[in-house]
C-alpha cells in the first residue's frame, strides 16, 4: 500500500537562501504525524510546497502513489489534499454557512453552476450544517465571518478544510494565537478528526504534539533532523540540545 504522502529530496531555494533542503518524508496512511522545529526551520515552506502554493526547486511530491509535484494547488485539493493556515485565511464577507456550503458544493463539482440558487441542493446543505454542527458553529452560521470571535474563526478554519473531505489533512499550527481558555475547543476538534484521515500537524506547542502525534519529524534549518516515535524524539539528545532546550525536562 502506498503511503498517504511522500516527498523525495525536496528542495526550495529563495535566491541564495535554502528554505527546504533535501527533505525526504513519508507519512503513512491514517497516521498522526507531527512536523516540529524551531522558528524559521521552514515548516510552513514545506506545507506550501506540499499544497502547491510554492513550486519546489528540486525533488518530488507523491500523494497516495501519484506524483503531484507539477500539479496546480486547486487540483491537489480534488485529489484529497487539504490544509489549514497558520494565520486564518477565511472569507471575511461570507457567513460560515456560505463558506462551508461553498467548499462542499465545489467538492461535489457544482461550483461552476450559475443558474442554480445556493441552498437548492439538500445534500449540500445537510452536509454543511453537519460540519458546522460538529465544530459547534451552527449558532453563528449566519453571521459575517469577520465579526466572529477569534476562537470560532479558528474552528471555521479547520472546518473549511474538513469540508473538502480530505484523505490527507495538513494542519498548520491549529492553536496558534488562540487564548488559553478557548484552546481545548480547538484541541478537541483536532482530536475528533475522523481516524481514516491522515493528519500532518505542524506545531510549535510541545503539549499538543506529544498528546496528539504517533510519529514526529524534527525540522531544523530546512533539513530533516530526527524522525521517530514521540518517545524516541523526546529521548534524543540532539533534539534536546538543538530544539527543546530548556523545555526538555518537562516533556
Amino acid at each position: 500500500m502506498a503511503p498517504a504522502l511522500q516527498t523525495q529530496g525536496l528542495v526550495k531555494q529563495f535566491g541564495g537562501i535554502i528554505a527546504t533542503n533535501d527533505v525526504t518524508l513519508t507519512v503513512e496512511k491514517g497516521a498522526r504525524h507531527a512536523l516540529i522545529g524551531p522558528n524559521g526551520a521552514g515548516k510552513t515552506t514545506v506545507i506550501n510546497l506540499l499544497t502547491g502554493v510554492l513550486r519546489p526547486t528540486a525533488g518530488r511530491i507523491v500523494l497516495e502513489g501519484r506524483d503531484i509535484t507539477d500539479l496546480e494547488a486547486y487540483k491537489r485539493v480534488g485529489l484529497g489534499l487539504a490544509r489549514t493556515f497558520q494565520i486564518n485565511q477565511l472569507f471575511a464577507d461570507l457567513t460560515p454557512l456560505e463558506t462551508i456550503g461553498l467548499a462542499v458544493s465545489e467538492r461535489m463539482q457544482l461550483g461552476r453552476q450559475w443558474w442554480r440558487l445556493p441552498g437548492s441542493k439538500p445534500v449540500v446543505i445537510e452536509e454543511s450544517v453537519d460540519i458546522l454542527n460538529r465544530f459547534g458553529l451552527t449558532d453563528a452560521m449566519n453571521e459575517r465571518t469577520a465579526t466572529l470571535p477569534y476562537g470560532k474563526q479558528r474552528l471555521l478554519e479547520i472546518a473549511l478544510a474538513i469540508a473538502c473531505r480530505p484523505n490527507v489533512l495538513l494542519l498548520d499550527e491549529p492553536a496558534a494565537g488562540v487564548p488559553e481558555a478557548e484552546r481545548h475547543g480547538i484541541l478537541d476538534a483536532v482530536a475528533a478528526l475522523p481516524s481514516d484521515v491522515t493528519v500532518l500537524l505542524i506545531e510549535h506547542d510541545m503539549d499538543i504534539v506529544f498528546s496528539f502525534a504517533d510519529r514526529i519529524s524534527v525540522l531544523v534549518n530546512g533539513e530533516l533532523f530526527v524522525e521517530g516515535t514521540p518517545e524516541e524524539v523526546a529521548q534524543d539528545p540532539r533534539v534536546k540540545a538543538v530544539y527543546l532546550g530548556e523545555e526538555a525536562h518537562d516533556a
Partner: protein, 389 residues
C-alpha cells in the same frame, strides 16, 4: 466519515436552506425600482433620449460591477468592450451582415465576449496596478486601431448606419420611444441573468475569490478559470451596451473607446456602490442627471462641479459629501458669484473642510448612528404590529 452518525436536526437544515436562499429573494425596493423604470416610459415621454443614455450607461456599469464588485478585478479600460460592441453593431448594420437589431445585438455581445476571453489572460497576471495598466493599454490599442481602419470610418466615425425595425415590427422612431423600451428590456433581461449569476454557487465562488484568492484555491477552486469566465461575461455585457448605443443613435465614433468612458463608468460604480448590482444602475442615474443638470445650469464649468462632488464624496462619504457639495454649489449659484470667485470660495471651503475633516466625520457618524437607531426602533414597531392584531 461519521456524517450519518451525527445528522444535524432537521429544523437547523431548513433554517440554513432558507438563509442561503434569502440573499436571492426579491426585496420590495427592487420591485419598486423596476416598476419606476416601467413608469418612466409613460410618465417621461420627453426625456426618452437621456433615459436611453442612462439605461445604456447603467448596463455598462452593471458589466463593470460584475468584475469589480464580485471578482475584485479593477479595470481602467472597460470601454474596450463597449467600443468593440458599438463598432460591431454599426458594421453589422451598415453592411447588412445582420439586419435584425436583436440578432445584431447578440452577435455584438458574442464578439465582445470573444475579445474579453482573449484579453482575460493578460488581466490574470499580477496585482491591481498591473491590471489597471493592462486594461488601459488594451483600450488604447483598440482605439488606435479603430482610428486607422477604413471599415470603422476612422476619426469621422461610422456613418450611414441605418437600423431595420426591431424583430421586423418595431421601427426606431425619432422621439426615441422604441429605442428606450428596447434598451430597458435589454437591460432588464441582462440584469435578471446577472442577478442569477451572482446568487449562484458560481457567484459565491467569485465572492470568495475576491475575498481571499489564496484560500479559494486551497478549497479546490480553479481561481483563474472563474476569473476568465466572469471577465468574458462582463465583456459581453459591455459589448451589448455599446451595441445599444450604436443602434439607438445610428452612429458610432471613436468616443466609444475613449479613456473618459472607462473612467466615468468606474466613477459611476464607485458612486453607486459595488457588489450589489444596483450600484451601477443607481450610479448611472445620478451621474447622468447631475451631469445633465450641471451642464444646463453651468454650461462652461459643469465639470468643475462634478469634480467637486466626487472629491467631497470620497472625503465625507456618499451622502454627506453630496449634500456638502450641493450646499457649496447652491451658495455660489444663489449669490450669483462669478466663476473665478466661485473657484476661490470653493477652494477656501475645501481647505477648511479638509482641516476639520476628523471633527466633521465625528459629527456625521453620530448622525448616522442616530438614524440607524431610529430605523431599528421603527422596524421593531412595524414588526410587532401584525402580531398584536
Amino acid at each position: 466519515m461519521s456524517a450519518l452518525a451525527s445528522l444535524p436536526p432537521k429544523p437547523l437544515v431548513a433554517t440554513a436552506a432558507a438563509s442561503l436562499a434569502s440573499r436571492a429573494r426579491w426585496k420590495p425596493a427592487e420591485i419598486a425600482f423596476w416598476l419606476a423604470t416601467v413608469a418612466s416610459i409613460f410618465l417621461l415621454p420627453s426625456k426618452h433620449l437621456i433615459l436611453t443614455e442612462i439605461a445604456i450607461l447603467g448596463l455598462f456599469a452593471l458589466s463593470l460591477d460584475l468584475i469589480l464588485g464580485y471578482a475584485g478585478i479593477v479595470s481602467l479600460g472597460h470601454a474596450a468592450f463597449f467600443g468593440f460592441g458599438a463598432y460591431a453593431a454599426g458594421i453589422l448594420a451598415k453592411y447588412g451582415i445582420i439586419k435584425e437589431p436583436v440578432l445584431a445585438l447578440l452577435a455584438s455581445g458574442v464578439l465582445a465576449a470573444a475579445l474579453g476571453f482573449v484579453t482575460s489572460f493578460l488581466v490574470l497576471r499580477g496585482s491591481d496596478l498591473t491590471r489597471l495598466m493592462v486594461t488601459l493599454g488594451v483600450a488604447l490599442v483598440l482605439r488606435e486601431i479603430a482610428n486607422q481602419l477604413d471599415i470603422t470610418g476612422g476619426a469621422d466615425g461610422l456613418q450611414g448606419v441605418v437600423m431595420e425595425p426591431i424583430l421586423g415590427h418595431f421601427p426606431f422612431d425619432m422621439f426615441g420611444r422604441t429605442a428606450y423600451i428596447y434598451s430597458l428590456v435589454t437591460l432588464f433581461v441582462l440584469f435578471l441573468i446577472a442577478r442569477r449569476i451572482v446568487n449562484s454557487p458560481f457567484g459565491l465562488s467569485l465572492r470568495s475569490i475576491k475575498g481571499n484568492p489564496l484560500r479559494a484555491a486551497a478549497i479546490g477552486i480553479h481561481v483563474n478559470g472563474r476569473l476568465v469566465t466572469i471577465y468574458t461575461i462582463a465583456a459581453a455585457y459591455a459589448g451589448i451596451a455599446g451595441a445599444l448605443l450604436t443602434q439607438s443613435t445610428q452612429f458610432a465614433s471613436l468616443s466609444v473607446l475613449d479613456f473618459e468612458r472607462s473612467a466615468d463608468v468606474m466613477l459611476i460604480v464607485i458612486i453607486g456602490g459595488t457588489g450589489y448590482l444596483y450600484g451601477g444602475l443607481i450610479g448611472a442615474v445620478l451621474f447622468k442627471l447631475v451631469q445633465d443638470y450641471l451642464a444646463n445650469v453651468n454650461p462652461q464649468y459643469w465639470q468643475f462641479w462634478l469634480g467637486l462632488i466626487l472629491v467631497m464624496m470620497i472625503m465625507f462619504g456618499r451622502v454627506y459629501g453630496a449634500i456638502m457639495a450641493a450646499l457649496i454649489f447652491a451658495i455660489c449659484t444663489w449669490t450669483r458669484l462669478p466663476f473665478m470667485q466661485s473657484i476661490v470660495f470653493t477652494l477656501v471651503v475645501l481647505a477648511v473642510l479638509g482641516i476639520a475633516r476628523p471633527q466633521i466625520l465625528a459629527v456625521t457618524s453620530r448622525i448616522t448612528e442616530r438614524a440607524a437607531a431610529i430605523q431599528t426602533r421603527l422596524r421593531a414597531r412595524l414588526a410587532r404590529k401584525p402580531a398584536e392584531r
